[in-house]
């Protein structure tokens, strides 16, 4: 696996979020929606790599985009990288969302930075009808609206404070939409409470769904077993590992607690 790639464009999306293009024909060719990359961000204190989802892939140009929210030392260091700088990335990693031809009508439900992996999914999914429900804290947190617009048939946005789109949680949008129609599969990514709620809503209505989980990681490839998440195993439960068994899991499999 080649680790050294190159930073392309870096664009601020809002005060704390940026979109970074990475030049990497290898990752662009191999990457699938829902997979992630593990980035060595540098900076004196960010020892471990940071897992970041693949947000969009341009296979012709051999580049892919990541959308990143600055949270701590690592993402902060990452945000200061400049075009043309070398960047140390392992990827693509993890399993990605399912792309089944028989899923004709799909929806994505994204919250905050959880929207990022859903973009490439919408772009690439073979479904004939695609709905995107995205939730943000407020108007200034809304990102990639146009890009999502172009990648789906209908885009609905909810903001917690009502400063843009519908006021309230994206899960309410989901419930409302489910009153109107059903879906062959729904893909969810966002804060855990949101995913838990959304998955519950869908399971209740027997709509299959996939969720993309987050967990702190070590190796990023399945060797160290630190990125555990609780999943159903028959009548019992077990720990699966987000980096290798996920980050995408079927909604029924995950035990949110």
């Amino acid at each position: 696996m080649n680790l050294i790639h190159r930073v392309g464009a870096v664009n601020r999306l809002n005060e704390e979020t940026f979109l970074m293009t990475i030049d990497s024909p290898e990752i662009a060719a191999a990457g699938r929606p829902g997979q992630f990359v593990n980035i060595r961000c540098g900076g004196p204190d960010a020892y471990l790599r940071r897992p970041i989802s693949i947000c969009r892939i341009d296979r012709e140009r051999g580049t892919f985009d990541i959308g990143v929210q600055i949270r701590g030392k690592g993402t902060e260091a990452l945000s200061r990288m400049r075009p043309m700088e070398p960047i140390d990335i392992m990827g693509p990693l993890g399993n990605g969302f399912s792309l089944k031809p028989e899923d004709r009508r799909i929806a994505v439900v994204g919250g905050g930075i959880g929207v990022f992996p859903l973009l490439q999914l919408l772009i690439e999914h073979p479904a004939s009808e695609k709905l995107a429900l995205l939730g943000f804290r407020s108007r200034d947190q809304v990102v990639l609206e146009q890009d999502f617009q172009m990648a789906c048939d209908e885009l609905l946005i909810a903001t917690d404070d009502g400063s843009y789109g519908t006021a309230g949680f994206v899960t309410s949008l989901l419930e409302k939409k489910l009153g109107e129609k059903t879906f062959d599969r729904v893909f969810i990514c966002g804060p855990t409470p949101m995913m838990k709620r959304a998955a519950a809503i869908l399971l209740e209505r027997n709509v299959p769904c996939e969720v993309s989980l987050e967990q702190r990681m070590g190796c990023g490839i399945g060797a160290c077993l630190v990125c555990a998440c609780k999943t159903r195993a028959g009548d019992d439960w077990d720990y699966a590992h987000v980096c290798k068994d996920g980050p995408v899991f079927s909604g029924e499999a995950v035990i949110f607690d």
Partner: protein, 306 residues
């Protein structure tokens, strides 16, 4: 005249390694994942994920926290159990020309004995007794933090052990030499050190510990000075070989541990940051040996000038 190539091989109490760099237990799984990245036959050996008699689920997440130049982990010995290891993993590992070191833990002395009996009849090259895991409640650290506990376990398992027996020591003790001497006296063929230092990390936003298990084991470059000191101290008092580890990231670090007295080394955490750390460390060691006219690894072991 034939040019004499540097000889990287070492022999640890009958365990022959093509080079002194071993993947540290718990950081390398059973090798499958890294086999996609490089040829496992490059490695001197692989210490597999810590095994127990029964499968174990391990501790609740989060199981890792980043700390300055290091990490805390609280995996808690999640593993499929020794039988699944023998059935499913050994055949895979045997495809590679590298030593298999089975890392074994038990809750009781009886379990340690049982593990050693089972592993003695399995196709592994050595058994590493983990008497030092800080992440499980029973066993392990309890035995490993006193000389009496070590004596008890090691002398109990030794008669049944048909493989080189490596005893892995915890650094969370007042006197590591005492423990190493106890292991030696009870029949250990080698000691390996250090396991992780018990530590903790707190998130001031949530006011909670970062790890699901509250405390965890510190590893990575941060602990290197402590590990190096302990390897130095222990190798001065025991006659059996010492396998050194703790924060090794590259060839230079390997040389430091050899000079301090180690006969071989293990590398773990550094591989999370650089998945080629093991291979690069081997290359780095070889380069150092060539540049410094070292014919064999043994020439470096204990070569510190004080």
């Amino acid at each position: 005249m034939m040019e004499k190539k540097t000889d990287m091989s070492v022999n640890i109490a009958g365990l022959k390694l093509k080079n002194p760099v071993i993947a540290a237990s718990g950081t390398f799984g059973f090798g499958r994942e890294y086999s996609a990245l490089f040829d496992l036959s490059r490695l001197g050996g692989i210490a597999v994920k810590g095994l127990t008699l029964e499968p174990r689920k391990g501790n609740p997440p989060p199981r890792i926290a980043e700390t300055p130049s290091g990490i805390l982990n609280s995996v808690g010995l999640q593993n499929p159990g020794v039988h699944a290891f023998i059935r499913d993993e050994i055949p895979f590992l045997r495809r590679y020309d590298t030593a298999i070191i089975a890392n074994a833990s038990g809750n009781t002395v009886e379990e340690y004995e049982e593990m050693v009996r089972i592993l003695s009849d399995a196709d592994v090259d050595a058994i590493e007794l983990n008497l030092s895991c800080p992440n499980v409640k029973e066993g392990c650290m309890a035995f490993g933090s006193t000389a009496a506990g070590i004596t008890q376990v090691v002398s109990r398992v030794k008669p049944f052990c048909k493989k080189p027996l490596i005893v892995k020591l915890t650094p969370n003790v007042t006197d590591i030499c005492e423990l190493a001497l106890a292991a030696e006296a009870a029949g250990a063929d080698a000691v390996s050190l250090i396991n992780t230092l018990l530590g903790m990390a707190i998130d001031v936003k949530t006011r909670r510990p970062i790890l699901g298990n509250i405390m965890g084991g510190l590893s990575g470059p941060a602990v290197k000075p402590v590990a190096l000191r302990m390897v130095y101290q222990v190798s001065k008092v025991v006659k059996i070989p010492v396998i050194g580890m703790g924060g090794i990231s590259n060839g230079t670090d390997v040389v430091e541990f050899l000079l301090a007295g180690a006969s071989a080394v293990m590398i773990g955490t550094a591989g999370f940051v650089n998945p080629y750390a093991w291979v690069e460390a081997i290359n780095g060691l070889e380069q150092y040996m060539l540049e410094n006219n070292c014919r064999s690894v043994a020439e470096l072991t204990g070569g510190l000038i004080v």
